[in-house]
Amino acid sequence: MMQAGDVLSGDARDDLLAAKDLTKTFGGLAAVKNVSFSVSAKAIKAIIGPNGAGKTTLYDLLTGIYLPDEGNVLFQGREIVGLATHEITALGVARTFQTIRLFTGMTVMENVMVGLHHRTKTGFVKSALRVPSGLREEAWMREESLRILDIVGLEMQAESLAGSLPFGQQRLLEVARALATAPRVLLLDEPASGLNAYETRELGGIIYRIRDMGVTVILVEHDMGLVMRISDEVLVLDYGEIIAEGTPEEVSADARVIEAYLGSEID
């Protein structure tokens, strides 16, 4: 069983995840157009852009929820376009959802334990018979999920129903649940939206901690303060196309970026 904290072994590549010429069209409208980018291991990369710029669609392409019309996605040098979402997750690409999709009727701990699903293997028969190996695995899952909840500071709420958590904690639980899949790359979709200033600061710390565990973080986010503070690189999308890429400083000085954001939403 892998541990969430497994640091990349010696062969750490520069390009952990790379997209090449991704294009996806919905009814004649290009949601994502010729998008190419890459992230190196242990980086924090932010993807920003006005609403409707294609950020969530890009995530859906990376995680196999949609098939791109054109283009490839390479993860650790391996083509992952065409794999099922759960296979991609098992390889090490995890995500959260912009519209929170927790299993609201289950406890916080159970939510995280679902994230551990592909790292465990007790099946129908063994589960029904409660064989010792299954019980050991179950115990491991509980410990492991507590450990992961500790990373986001939710271990005290382990037995609460996920749906009863306040909004900010639901966002954190989404992160914890994704973390449970032992990702190499974690795709966060607007993790700070709906959070107050204090919670956003906490979130920044958590993202750093996740990065320090050896996980590459990609971050779609509207909160520019957070983006500028924590990311190593920023990618700017507008109308499905990349209009700028670089360090936070470079990007915020880019004329096209300013133009794209003008009149929209700089916080």
Binding site: H86, M113, V114, R119, S127, G134
Partner: protein, 377 residues
């Protein structure tokens, strides 16, 4: 009952603790098992009191419990509505009946193959699981109709509407060889088959219930509930949603087949009309009464639905001068089912047992008002 009462850290626990844990964890099974074990002692008294042959009916309750628990795994836990559980029940019943009558198979083998054939049929039609919500419900209803029509029309195999007669009864094995014909046993047990059937069915049912209860609070059960609440999120968490749905569906079909197989050998006669849509809807009603996401609720649901007609039939015997409209319960059984389904959905969408217990205590969290529980998606 929800998997949180087990703080043990895996191996290295003393046998005593483990035994205590085992008892604690399975207390529902144990209490219920003792109840079933002792029930025959009161059967005669109950019969004198309310004119209902409780053992006779409890056998059917056991059978329907198995079918209902199968449907509840699929519908209550994994969230896939099926209006076709009656079809698997029918396939199981016909498999067992035809194998024993036509091919002379022993009853136990007939029942075993009933499970296998129903499960295989479940696997065959599993592609319908690609459909969601209303479409899945309609498609499974369609399946139920197709199975019904084929049972009726394949007369060369199934005897059609004439039904299958003289199905060997589920009986104590080797009765004629071993000493069960001995007079003292006869004297004590006037109806040995009945007792045997009662115990056999309930041993099977309790084993099924216990295994399912284990299943739903395991890794597999969690993945089922997860995909119920959000397929996309479950898939993104690494759960192979379609494979998992198929497995639950096949398991549910197998349990339906098991129930049907036993049923055929209990009744001695079956015909297609027993396995029409009404059966699917009765099983659905059992699940609804027992409560979604409730394994033991299946017993309650099966008991209510099975006993209800018997109670109504028994009323004239209690009061002597019962109103005439009570005579034919089957005439308004549908009204009762319909009202139960509608009223439960409107007032207690998580089922009657759950709804009642919610009324007395909010579950786990004061933030959740169970009466206003909204759709997840």
């Amino acid at each position: 009952m929800d998997g949180k009462s087990n703080p043990t850290k895996g191996g290295g626990v003393s046998p005593g603790t483990r035994l205590a844990e085992l008892v604690k964890r399975n207390r529902a099974v144990i209490v219920f098992g003792v109840f079933i074990l002792l029930l025959p002692l009161w059967a005669e008294h109950i019969y004198k009191g309310i004119s209902i042959d409780i053992l006779f009916i409890m056998r059917l309750v056991g059978v329907f419990t198995i079918a209902a628990v199968g449907l509840n795994l699929l519908m209550g836990y994994a969230g896939q509505v099926s209006l076709g559980q009656g079809a698997f029940f029918g396939i199981g019943a016909y498999t067992s009946a035809l194998l024993t009558v036509r091919a002379g198979f022993p009853v136990w083998l007939g029942i075993a193959l009933a499970i296998a054939i129903s499960a295989a049929f479940g696997l065959l039609v599993a592609p319908v699981l690609r459909l969601k919500g209303h479409y899945l419900a309609m498609a499974t209803l369609g399946l139920a109709i197709i199975v019904f029509v084929f049972l009726r029309e394949m007369t060369w195999l199934t005897f059609g509407n004439d039904g299958v007669r003289n199905i060997p009864e589920l009986a104590l094995p080797f009765t004629h060889i071993t000493g069960f014909d001995l007079p003292f046993i006869k004297e004590k047990l006037q109806r040995p088959e009945l007792y045997f059937q009662f115990y056999f069915i309930w041993v099977v049912a309790i084993v099924v219930l216990a295994l399912c209860a284990n299943l739903v609070r395991s890794r597999v059960g969690r993945s089922m509930r997860a995909l119920h609440q959000s397929e996309v999120a479950a898939e993104a968490m690494g759960v192979n949603v379609s494979a998992q749905k198929i497995k639950v569906f096949v398991l549910s079909a197998a349990l339906g087949g098991l129930a049907g197989g036993i049923y055929a050998n209990l009744q001695g006669y079956i015909d297609p009309n027993m396995f029409s849509i009404t059966l699917s809807i009765s099983i659905l009603t059992m699940v609804v009464i027992g409560g979604m996401e409730s394994i033991w609720g299946a017993v309650a649901g099966a008991a209510v639905i099975t006993f209800l007609p018997k109670f109504v039939e028994a009323i004239p015997k209690w009061v002597g001068d019962a109103p005439k409209w009570l005579e034919r319960y089957s005439n308004y059984e549908g009204i009762v089912f319909g009202l139960i389904l509608i009223l439960t959905m409107v007032f207690m969408p998580s089922g009657i047992t759950r709804g009642l217990s919610d009324m007395f205590r909010y579950r786990r969290s004061p933030f959740m008002n169970p009466f206003r529980r909204k759709a997840v998606e």
